[in-house]
């Protein structure tokens, strides 16, 4: 049996020290990586026309809690692990205005989806408060769903799980 001439390519692993700056920077990245228990809060920003009306809508009707309202154009709300930022666009020096002057507008079709325990009673409550419905309760896949608008016209989807609803297991 002949030896494969390419056996000469065999390259044992010999430790090589990388640049100390690289080694230190990588270690910092590893140590800074959040652990599984330090889950980061998911944050959504909605643009709204009327901050007071919006805070009232989310807190009174959809179980959010007001965390911060440091200015007339910004509020931070929480609902469980979800953080909702409400910003009033425009105005002098507004950070969300694009370089070409475009000002963000409320509305559109992308939406947050909030789970509720009883969709029918939630819908009744929202109706009593003259909330705009884009569509009434409908059957989706694994959920019943309802699409409403906040006072600025941003869509908010409400769901109630039904059989077949998939929930990721907590680890």
């Amino acid at each position: 049996m002949t030896t494969d001439p390419l056996a000469a390519l065999r390259l044992p692993i010999v430790p090589i020290e990388p640049r100390p700056e690289f080694a230190d920077a990588l270690l910092r990245r590893i140590e800074a990586r959040p652990g599984p228990l330090d889950r980061q809060t998911a944050t959504i920003r909605y643009f709204v026309a009327d901050l007071d009306a919006s805070v009232d809508f989310y807190c009174r009707l959809l179980d959010f809690e007001e965390e911060l309202r440091p200015s007339p154009v910004f509020a931070m709300l929480y609902r469980g692990d979800l953080r909702l930022l409400l910003s009033v666009p425009g105005g002098a020096g507004a950070v969300h205005t694009l370089p070409d002057g475009t000002v963000p507008q409320p509305g559109g079709w992308n939406r947050m989806t909030l789970q509720v325990a009883d969709l029918v009673s939630t819908a009744d409550s929202l109706r009593r408060h003259q909330v705009v419905f884009r569509h009434d309760i409908e059957a989706g896949v694994g959920v019943r769903t309802l699409l409403v608008e906040d006072p600025s016209g941003n869509p908010v989807e409400l769901i109630e799980p039904t059989s077949g609803y998939h929930e990721r297991r907590n680890t």
């Binding site: 494969d4 001439p5 390519l9 390259l11 010999v14 990388p18 990588l26 590893i30 140590e31 652990g35």
Partner: protein
């Protein structure tokens, strides 16, 4: 039983880093690429540990992660090269054994001239000494396709070797 605490990786970091870097640098031949791949390998190891998908943390496992990153790198490179149509050379004489004594330094230099797919296949098979079935697994190809790739890669290496040797 695996380890899910990234602290276990930090504990062996100073010892493991030169081993992983020492595996990658001679194989890719570039400090910039070796540093990128080393960082990718360690961060992938952290992610795997956090997801509970890591075995006990040791250097052999980290080298395996680094090997995957190296192969991914060459596959990306191979795709780029293929799009530039550099794999057009013929395969004549590919069954001929090399009967001369090969110059190890020239051989490694010739290897660096090959495209990403060929370099990955030959590195895993010959530099790392993996079995063909293991090479196939790393490359995500069938054993038959891997054998074909290895044969063509050896032919390409031989041409590159002869060019270098004749210079």
């Amino acid at each position: 039983m695996g380890t899910s605490d990234p602290g276990a990786l930090v504990a062996i970091y100073r010892w493991a880093l030169p081993q992983v870097y020492g595996y990658l640098l001679p194989r890719c031949g570039s400090v910039v690429v070796a540093e990128d791949l080393t960082a990718e390998a360690f961060m992938a190891a952290v992610a795997a540990m956090q997801q509970g998908a890591a075995p006990d943390v040791n250097v052999a496992w980290l080298i395996g992660v680094a090997r995957h990153k190296l192969v991914d790198h060459w596959r990306r490179q191979g795709r780029d090269e293929r799009s530039r149509a550099l794999m057009t050379q013929s395969d004549e004489g590919i069954e001929d054994p090399w009967d001369e004594e090969l110059d190890r330094v020239v051989l490694h230099a010739a290897l660096a001239e090959l495209n990403g797919f060929q370099r990955a296949a030959l590195t895993l098979r010959y530099l790392d000494g993996l079995r063909v079935t293991e090479v196939a697994e790393h490359l995500g190809r069938s054993v038959h396709a891997t054998e074909t790739l290895l044969t063509r890669s050896k032919a390409a290496l031989r041409r590159a070797y002869r060019r270098s040797h004749d210079d």
